[in-house]
Amino acid sequence: MISPSQLDVDRDKGDFHYDTDYSFDAGIGLSEDVVRYISEVKKEEPWMLDFRLKALSTFEKKPMPTHWATDDLKNINFDVIRYYLAKGQQPSRTWDEVPDDIKNTFERLGIPEQERKFLAGVEAQFDSEAAYSNMKEDLAKEGVIFVGSTEGLKEHPEIFRKWFGKVIPTSDNKFSALNSAVFSGGSFIYIPPGVKLAQPLQAYFRINAENFGQFERTLIIADEGSEVMYMEGCTAPKFETSTLHSAVVELVALKGAKIQYVTVQNWSNNVFNLVTKRAIAEEEAEVRWIDCNIGSRLTMKYPGVILKGRKARGEVVSIALANDGQHQDTGAKMVHAADETTSNVVSKSISIGDGRSSYRGLVQMPGHLKGCKNNTECDALLINNKSQTDTYPAITVQGDANSVQHEASVSKVSAEQIFYMKQRGLSEAEAMSLCVNGFVNDLIREFPMEYSVELKRLIDLEMEGSVG
């Protein structure tokens, strides 16, 4: 199976950037011209330009969701963001062809080594576009497609167009509309019927430029009876000004297919991370979102599964860590739309200092369905009394042929507990790391081995940072 390695999304290690000459630059601010520019450099067909322009107008019409979400959203200044920056339009297929500055970035982050070690394929996105994309040859022979969204659209329009925007409509929320207008990069993956990938595919998202918005768009289609694990890691350097990451990720698991989508993000503290992720699971299909949110200024992310076919299963396993000055607003959406569908949500959040974690969960089970089950468990750990946590579970269950279980807990690591542990010789950071690792240990086991090693290391680093 998969051999241990590291993903390396250490924020300090990622805190560097190279001056890069971009050949493609849509300038500063958002307008119809920007959208046209992006579509043009990508040589898109008219339907796509049309799609983008409609999305732009939807974005402009939609208010910020501050009636339920944090007011901090108002601090995003869409006029100063750069929406498209790319060095080239074609990702390199061999590492040697990657431009030096970009290559240096990913080498510092350890990307090529990991590919050699345990991955079936890698895509490395630098600002707006994939700079490198490669997949093992035998998989290509089996018909597996793993390319950037631009290439996916160009080379495989029949599959792409069939599913694009179908799981998450443009108008789902203000940020899905924004993404739909200006998206670039992200992965397009198709797994043919019955093909089971033994090794994961990985994407690495890297923001390099200041005042930049990264709007990748990922679409994964697992055809009947196929299996795939996709992993993504994200970093950005620390800039003075804020940066926006607003992705849309759509997954389609056809009959009996299995998709696992693993995210370890470790954004620097100036990133607004506003991501829409949703899956459709057909009959007996299984989708698992395994999500770890570390860093960022504000993360809003509620991965969802629409359980569309009988006996479909959906799961969200998430860890969120909100340190000083950070707000992790995360959760899950489970929409039961067929009989005997089951969903499971396990969420653990850690709030440190004045960090804040919110959990928002939505479970829908209409009354005409039978034999559906949801289990939701959300636990919060507060380290020192300034931190906050809140949960907003929304559960709509009609009818009594279904079952829903919801458990929530809040625990605290007090100053006295820390003192006790320090009395045994542990530094404050070590004491906090032990508590946090103990708290999330059972979830960390859900991550692939190479990610769990990385996660533990990230948590240690985060604790060291938090005690200064």
Binding site: Q417, R424, C435
Partner: protein, 251 residues
């Protein structure tokens, strides 16, 4: 020098003064006992020496061998070699005893050194056997849901694994039945040696039948008001604390 030395120590919490010029010296190789009524400041002394952040030290000195303890972080003090067995050990959910003790031992190693798992567990099991602790305890969360007696055994286990230069045991006897008291006392007695100084804080002389001290000090209102041999404990048992207090006021 080779002692835990406290001189004219004054400490307060908020505007409440608790330690009022306390002096005491515990040389290596000796066991001292502090007795005193509730509220006289015994636990405060233990916590101040351990660097608890809530207390403010307004005067005096405290040194471990030749290192001053005042102003150091609790973990630095611990690594210098002072262990405190707490009167009320904290529960730490999610952190197993085995991981915790291992982390504490690791914290004492030099950069690049590592504890070998096999040897560590062998050592841990041997100490647990001595204390009559079931091996299942290694994977249990630290003190989480433990009975009073289990918590105290767990303190002694940590102490014996960390092998400190000086140990303060704060009311380790409270809440123990006679069998547990014997096990815990045996654990402490095994640690008596010429290289270690031990301070036993207790409210009752009973413990001192098991851990026989070289000296007994009586504390009242933040000071040591009397020092004697083991027989002083028996005298206190007979006459209560009031006469000491009165004597202290009179002098």
């Amino acid at each position: 020098m080779n002692s835990l030395k406290i001189d004219n120590l004054q400490a307060s919490i908020g505007d409440k003064s608790i330690l009022r010029g306390l002096s005491l010296e515990i040389p290596k190789g000796e066991v001292h006992a502090i007795m005193g009524p509730n509220g006289s400041g015994k636990s405060t002394l233990a916590k101040v020496l351990s660097g608890h952040p809530d207390y403010e030290v307004s005067g005096g000195t405290a040194t471990l061998d030749d290192d001053s303890l005042l102003g150091l972080e609790p973990d630095e003090i611990s690594r210098l070699g002072l262990f405190l067995a707490f009167q009320y050990p904290m529960e730490v959910p999610g952190v197993s005893i085995a991981n915790f003790i291992r982390a504490a031992l690791n914290a004492r190693l030099k950069e690049g050194e590592k504890i070998k798992a096999v040897e560590y567990y062998k050592d841990l099991y041997a100490h647990m056997d001595d204390l009559g602790m079931d091996r299942k305890f290694t994977s249990r969360s630290l003190n989480d849901g433990f009975s009073g007696g289990e918590k105290k055994r767990c303190e002694i286990l940590q102490m014996s694994m960390l092998s400190p230069k000086y140990a303060i045991l704060d009311e380790t006897d409270s809440g123990l039945d006679i069998d547990a008291l014997r096990v815990v006392s045996d654990g402490v007695n095994r640690m008596r040696n010429p290289e270690r100084g031990i301070l036993v804080i207790t409210h009752y002389q009973r413990l001192l039948d098991y851990i026989v001290p070289d000296y007994v000090h009586v504390m009242s209102e933040g000071k040591i008001v009397r020092t004697g041999g083991k027989e002083l404990a028996l005298e206190l048992e007979d006459r209560g604390y009031d006469w000491i207090k009165q004597e202290a006021v009179a002098s």
